[in-house]
Assembly symmetry: C2
Homo-oligomer: 219 residues x 2
């Protein structure tokens, strides 16, 4: 559909501009995507609390159709946050991110965590200019999601399988989920964790800080 192509091409230009700005400012930008309720905000809250004292500035852009509840949770956890409300919109786009970033005073060396609208479909198609794409799924959602929503998993760099604490109570085969995800994206990295109990979170922090180090200019 040429209409869709036009919208995506317009977004791509702005995404590249964002990418340049992030690189120029030594900012590591991560696009977090998932179904509603997979636990993106809880992961961010715990990440911000646990990385405090490591001298890494963290800021957050919060995408939601409505409410500023998530930005308030992030600020309570101790990071700067800007809420973007999309109204009827189903995803963040590069233009919204540029506006959100303009309201954040991002220090060089920052990690910018962009929490997309909870949606396993549309955000997959929109580049925000991020350096890394992270998809979160939870063990309560079923292990078939990577095959049923392939575009999201195909474009991601990292899959976080969240809510490990609920694994004893649900039918979810971790190996099967990972196998499905790697069928659509053989390069996909995978971490298992629980934002509730903290299990598995240190490996996520290691990945985040190592990836950030890669984008920093030589001192």
């Amino acid at each position: 559909m040429s209409l869709e192509q036009d919208i995506l091409a317009g977004n791509q230009l702005l995404a590249e501009r964002n990418r340049g700005w992030f690189a120029g400012r030594d900012v590591f930008a991560v696009n977090l995507m998932s179904s509603p309720g997979a636990g993106k905000t809880s992961i961010l809250e715990r990440t911000i609390r646990d990385l405090r004292g490591r001298d890494i500035p963290i800021s957050v852009l919060e995408g939601d159709q409505a409410t500023s509840a998530d930005a308030e949770r992030i600020r309570a956890a101790g990071a700067a946050a800007v809420q973007i409300n999309t109204g009827t919109g189903c995803h963040l786009d590069a233009h919204m991110v540029a506006h959100g970033v303009a309201q954040l005073a991002l220090a060089p060396g920052s990690i910018l965590l962009i929490e997309n609208v909870g949606n396993l479909v549309c955000p997959a198609l929109f580049d925000l200019g991020e350096e890394a794409r992270v998809v979160v799924t939870s063990v309560t959602e079923g292990d078939d999601k990577p095959l049923k929503y392939p575009h999201m998993f195909r474009t991601a760099d990292m899959l976080l399988i969240n809510k490990l604490d609920l694994l004893p109570h649900v039918r979810f085969d971790v190996e099967r989920c990972i196998d499905h995800a790697r069928q659509v994206n053989p390069q996909l990295q995978v971490l298992l964790l629980s934002a509730e109990t903290g299990e598995g979170m240190p490996a996520w922090y290691d990945w985040l800080t190592a990836q950030r180090a890669l984008v920093m200019s030589p001192a």
Copy 2:
């Protein structure tokens, strides 16, 4: 955005045509919507099994980006099913439903259950010509979803709160969820259930069969 309005207006014409066809055939059509993994397919499987023997023909349209896994689950449960794959598309539209219906030999008096793409955002905007709109949420998703995705809850007739069996293991305030849902839609009906254990399912069957009776022509 006039572009969005054009697409929606085009869809509306086809939706009204579907609505007329359903009324003419005495078919009760239900549009089921939710986040990915909230349990729509599990609810349908159990519904089909439990309503067997009640002499109500049930057919299913299954919407997914990819795979025909859900249609196979429905057929295994004992109902006719047609799978619609949307590719990169984020929702079913009235045109897809018309095509799917053409492949189902719907008997007069049928219930047609249309399982939309797992997405709490986009399907809210697209009328399929259904008689009733049902949104499914699960207790693992958090009780804030009605406020964060208001369009979906505003346009629904019925809210099913699923996975009641997991309630002891998660932080989810049922009354708070219902209160949030009624803030955006005071007329919304609500049922609590578990497709896993069967708890609460009979009230759902009562609603479904009573609503079906309302659309049937006098004998």
